[in-house]
């Protein structure tokens, strides 16, 4: 029951009691005093009524205040609950953060303990050194050479560093230098190898500007490095008896693309260069004279040379048929005034497991001045090698089998046909990769080379080669011997010859 109501009931009871007492008193007192008493009572009743009204107002006010307090209390309770929820969420989030931080900290500690990996370190250092970078590669070789006909043995050394300067991911400069210590010289002789810019215009077109290895066939460009050539010597049509210039100065456009499955590629190279030239030390051009090597004499002739090469790889990698390369090349240029040298060739390379084989056939047609018949030549070679890796002979110890599987036996047959040779040009001084055998200069030279390579590392090899020179009879030998016109004599049976070359070669 509300307090206000209790209070008013009490007042009413009190008033009634008072009136009862007043009645009793009046009965007891005299009647004269009744009026005065009644008046007083009325006055008191009024007073009581006024008090009651005031009390009611007070009660209402208190009631209102109480409602307000209750409302505030409810609000405070709600806020408190919200705060508690937020606190719980914060505690949960804090715990998750702490767990995550601890985990990451542990990972960082582990990484710090382990240190950076080599690729990470190398990438970081690469970034540190910048994008313009020099890289040195190349090769070196030392030969021991013995030729039976010459009856001499000697050493020769070559050092062939190659510098690459990479400007960005589409421009590369390349330059090489060749230092040779050959027999018959008092010191090293130096020559420049190649010097060119390789500019990749897009994924399918690249230009090469400068002095480059002749992209005719694979040999000069891809297989002539000391440690890349499986033999110590070059095959006859690319070595002592070169049929096309080994290098040239000019511009190439080249590129490759995949035409089928993975491994089924095709590529092209077209080029324009200063062109061929022949031994200018002779008083007059003759059939069979040798080509000049790397020089710029071609710039004095009447025209440029044009070359083209196309290669195709017919087998996809997943066919398990091995990797077969088929190529065709042509090279055509004026060697003097309006006189052309035209060359064409076809080649192949095949690789399957431990077997590798390659070969080529090429022909050249050289127009000669009036009065002389054409100077036509043919050359070829075919070679094969087989790695003995994986071969285990049960009767050999593990150590000997270890040596055995580093061996690669090889065989090569090469030959050149031409109508004549020039005696004044025949040099029998051995040099690195050349035995000096006179039989190699016969008009119809034939050579069988047997090789045995011992691979110390993928680019370090000790090679041994046994050459059998088996020239055929026939042809003409021109000899100037100081005169302005040559004397011609028939070449009869040229004696066979044998040579041994052994070479330690390293690619770096």
């Amino acid at each position: 029951m509300p307090a206000g109501r209790i209070f008013s009931t009490f007042l009413f009871a009190f008033g009634a009691a008072t009136l009862s007492l007043a009645g009793l008193a009046r009965a007891a007192d005299s009647e004269g005093g009744d009026a005065a008493a009644l008046k007083e009572i009325r006055s008191e009743v009024r007073q009581l009524r006024a008090d009651r009204a005031r009390d009611r107002r007070l009660i209402e006010m208190l009631k209102q205040e109480l409602d307000e307090v209750r409302s505030e209390d409810s609000h405070i309770r709600t806020t408190n609950q919200q705060l508690q929820t937020s606190t719980q969420k914060l505690q949960s989030s804090n715990q998750q953060l702490e767990t995550k931080t601890n985990k990451e900290l542990n990972q960082i500690r582990d990484q710090v303990t382990e240190g950076p990996t080599e690729p990470q370190l190398a990438r970081a250092l690469g970034g540190y050194w910048g994008t313009h970078q020099f890289t040195i590669a190349g090769g070196a070789a030392a030969d021991f050479i013995y030729d039976r006909q010459l009856g001499q043995n000697t050493f020769a050394i070559n050092f062939n560093p190659e510098t690459f300067f990479r400007v960005n991911d589409w421009i590369l400069f390349q330059g090489s230098l060749d230092a040779a210590w050959n027999p018959g010289t008092s010191g090293a002789s130096f020559s420049s190898g190649v010097a060119d810019a390789q500019i990749f215009l897009n994924d399918y077109v690249e230009t090469v500007l400068g002095a480059f290895d002749q992209p005719f066939d694979d040999f000069y460009e891809d297989n002539s490095a000391f440690w890349v050539n499986r033999f110590v010597t070059a095959p006859l049509p690319y070595g002592a008896r070169a049929l096309v210039p080994p290098s040239d100065i000019g511009m190439q456009v080249r590129g490759g693309y995949q035409w089928g499955g993975l491994g089924q590629d095709a590529d092209y190279t077209v080029w324009v260069a200063n062109g061929p030239s022949f031994d200018s030390a002779l008083p007059q051009p003759v059939v069979g004279q040798t080509l000049n090597g790397f020089n710029n004499i071609g710039s004095n002739t009447n025209g440029r040379a044009y070359g083209g090469r196309f290669r195709v790889y017919p087998f996809p990698l997943d066919s398990n048929l091995g990797r077969l390369e088929l190529g065709a090349s042509t090279y055509n240029g004026k060697w003097q005034n309006s006189l052309w040298l035209n060359a064409w060739g076809v080649d192949f390379a095949y690789l399957r497991d431990n077997l590798q084989a390659r070969g080529s056939y090429l022909e050249t047609y050289r127009q000669m001045p009036a009065g002389s018949s054409p100077d036509n030549r043919q050359g070829w070679y075919v070679q094969a090698g087989y790695f003995l890796s994986g071969l285990r002979l049960p009767f050999l110890s593990r150590e000997l089998n270890g040596y055995l599987e580093r061996l690669e036996p090889l065989v090569r047959y090469s030959g050149v046909n031409q109508r004549a040779v020039v005696a004044d040009e025949i040099s029998t001084t051995p040099s690195l990769g050349f035995s000096g055998s006179q039989s190699a200069f016969a008009p119809h030279a034939r050579e069988v080379a047997l090789g045995l390579d011992y691979w110390i590392a993928p680019s370090i090899v000790w090679q041994t080669e046994f050459d059998l020179e088996l020239p055929r009879a026939g042809g003409t030998l021109f000899s100037f011997n100081g005169a302005s016109t040559p004397t011609a004599s028939s070449v009869g049976a040229t004696p066979n010859d044998r040579a041994i070359l052994t070479q330690f070669a390293i690619g770096f």
Partner: protein, 95 residues
């Protein structure tokens, strides 16, 4: 005015979140692409290199040196660009 500012703020926040998602997606795609290149390079390396010479392991040169050498090696055999990239990724990754 306050409502406009709030809308702009929410808009910016959404753009940032979308950017982060896009960058993460691209990064994941790039990693997948790198792994694919590495696998393809591992398949091509022993065959394409051995076409002329023994395949040299990635440890012989630093990744930076391989950048230059592979450019040269792409030129000589006219390697398709994507195959050259795969072999480069393999050699650098196996350094």
């Amino acid at each position: 005015m306050a409502k406009l500012s709030k809308s702009i703020l929410i808009g910016l926040l959404m753009i940032v979140l979308l950017e982060i998602s896009a960058v993460r997606a691209l990064s994941a795609e790039s990693e997948q692409e790198q792994r694919k290149l590495f696998r393809e390079g591992a398949q091509l390396w022993p065959v394409y290199c051995a076409q002329c010479h023994n395949a040299r392991p990635g440890s012989e040169f630093s990744p930076v040196q391989w950048d230059s050498i592979l450019m040269h090696m792409r030129t000589l055999p006219n390697l398709p660009a994507k195959d050259a990239r795969a072999i480069l990724e393999y050699l650098k990754g196996s350094h």
